[in-house]
């Protein structure tokens, strides 16, 4: 069954934002703070680099195999049996993401908000929500995400102003005083969460413009990198690393610290009501990717028929997985990055080599050379790359060369934040320039014509 659908560049960027950012907010940040202490807010740069590499490989696959998703590409390259085995591994990886998120959210709701409701019921209701969206497609999830993600993003940034009365910069100091090894390890731990971007492989057939897809994913990754850095900065500034590293749900407790006035109580409920839909969209995207994967085995392009059996399977399997809350935290912090490196890196390397070797027709460039738009585009690309490299260099130089004085630390922190903001703005400029180029070429609706 063929469906015509449209997922534009902004929706892709915001979906990437939801996908990577919301999962981290339950309990993951605790381990990062435990490792890197007051310098935990430098922990997002290496995972963002990794996510950019994954996005680049996915865009190369779109260029080499237009109109095909990751599962189809693996079947084409490796054949029925080996391809089937690799696709089973990808399905298992997606199941891990689903089990982590569904069980993590159910445990969080059970412990913090609904202590009288049985865990199984919370889990069942959540899977029913997934099954409802499973009848639709990525387009619906992307449109719902367009409502909630901007509000969630703004609320995350507003946390600083809402918690200004509790914030103390002294809790962050001395900046970059922890060892380089600790900062490096804290950069490895979020690899598991950032590896979730591979889920977009299941929707590669949605895109016909690889360069725009990469730019959109890059912008999404930069949003996540920037926002998570700010969130950790606020968490550390309000609580300090000692308290933050001992809390099961640090962000939830952080939001509970908002005391604006005496009559405005429980502001965390407002933030929670924005976080939960954005988080649900993340799980919905993972569920849709799971359905696409299962569908590739059944030889059906239309995956609705698998919705009910997959829902039943998910309810049972997530009940079996991660029996204790501590298991989830341990897995996401230690095993998950290891699994991502072990599984994703060889797979993506193999797919990248195959995609580069495959002869393909060079399509028309989105932005003609020599134009003003092209100059702007080049400036944004190089500006973003230099700023991103500047972030890494700032950490290296700050850690190695600074005399560990408070003034040098603050100067390093300011430089790091400025570079990150420039990289975020440049990624937006790059995405917009490519989109304008596409509009001028008169191919506005080609992207997103894909099968469900």
């Amino acid at each position: 069954m063929i469906h015509k659908q449209v997922v534009n560049h902004r929706q892709i960027a915001w979906l990437v934002g939801s996908l990577l950012m919301t999962g981290m907010m339950i309990s993951f940040l605790r381990t990062v703070v435990q490792v890197a202490k007051m310098d935990a807010w430098f922990s997002q740069i290496l995972p963002a680099c990794y996510a950019l590499l994954v996005a680049y490989v996915l865009s190369e696959l779109v260029r080499a195999y237009p109109g095909k998703n990751l599962f189809e590409i693996v079947f084409i390259i490796c054949g029925k049996w080996i391809g089937g085995f690799i696709n089973l591994l990808i399905l298992f990886y997606i199941w891990i993401i689903l089990a982590l998120d569904i069980k993590g959210a159910a445990d969080f709701l059970h412990v913090s908000l609904l202590p009288q409701t049985p865990l199984e019921i919370i889990l069942l209701v959540f899977v029913l929500l997934l099954m409802y969206y499973g009848k639709t497609s990525l387009e619906v999830a992307a449109r719902v995400n367009e409502i909630y993600f901007p509000a969630y993003f703004i609320m995350c940034l507003m946390l600083y102003f809402l918690l200004m009365n509790e914030y103390s910069i002294e809790r962050l100091e001395p900046i970059l005083s922890t060892t380089f090894e600790r900062i490096a390890v804290s950069n490895l731990l979020p690899l598991g969460v950032y590896g979730d971007i591979l889920l977009f492989g299941a929707f590669l057939h949605a895109s016909s413009e690889p360069r725009l897809l990469f730019a959109a994913m890059k912008h999404g990754i930069m949003i996540v990198c920037f926002t998570t850095t700010i969130m950790i900065l606020i968490l550390l500034g309000v609580m300090g690393y000692v308290i933050a590293s001992r809390l099961n749900f640090p962000i939830y407790i952080l939001v509970q610290q908002i005391h604006l006035t005496d009559f405005l109580d429980r502001v965390e409920m407002i933030l929670f009501s924005l976080w939960f839909p954005a988080f649900s969209i993340k799980v919905i995207v993972a569920y849709l990717a799971f359905l696409v994967g299962v569908g590739s085995f059944g030889g059906q392009l239309h995956y609705n028929t698998y919705n009910a059996p997959c829902g039943c399977f998910l309810v049972v399997s997530t009940l079996l997985a991660f029996p204790k809350v501590a298991d989830i935290d341990q897995f996401i912090s230690y095993s998950f990055p290891f699994i991502v490196i072990l599984f994703q890196v060889p797979l993506l390397l193999f797919l990248f080599i195959v995609a580069r070797r495959k002869k393909r027709e060079e399509g028309q460039t989105l932005i003609p050379r020599g134009t003003k738009l092209h100059r702007f585009y080049r400036m944004m690309v190089w500006g973003g790359a230099i700023s991103f490299a500047g972030c890494i260099l700032t950490i290296l130089l700050g850690d190695m060369l600074s005399d560990k004085s408070p003034a040098a630390g603050i100067a390093t922190a300011i430089a790091y934040i400025i570079f990150m903001v420039i990289a975020l703005l440049a990624s937006y400029g790059e995405m917009q320039a490519l989109n304008h180029g596409k509009q001028r070429l008169g191919r506005p609706k080609q992207q997103g014509n894909f099968r469900q």
Partner: protein, 78 residues
């Protein structure tokens, strides 16, 4: 296991399986095998959860099998 959950999940499983039985003639054989496998896994899973067979073969242990090694490696590095 919560009885209300068992009732609701059982109903969901039976209704969706009945729906599949009615529609299976229009489906390809490959597709039918995939759906049968998913239902079989669900039934085995709910049996294991209900009669606590998961306590003997802990899934939490298998999923976290790398955790102690990675944790030790990190502690060694730091």
């Amino acid at each position: 296991m919560n009885r209300l959950f068992l009732l609701l999940f059982g109903l969901m499983l039976v209704c969706s399986f009945w729906d599949f039985i009615l529609k299976r003639k229009h489906m390809e054989r490959k597709q039918q095998i995939v759906i049968y496998s998913l239902y079989a896994l669900s039934v085995i899973g709910i049996y294991a959860v209900q009669y606590q067979h998961d306590k003997m073969l802990s899934t939490g242990f298998f999923l976290n099998i790398f955790t102690p090694q990675v944790k030790t490696w990190i502690e060694h590095m730091l």
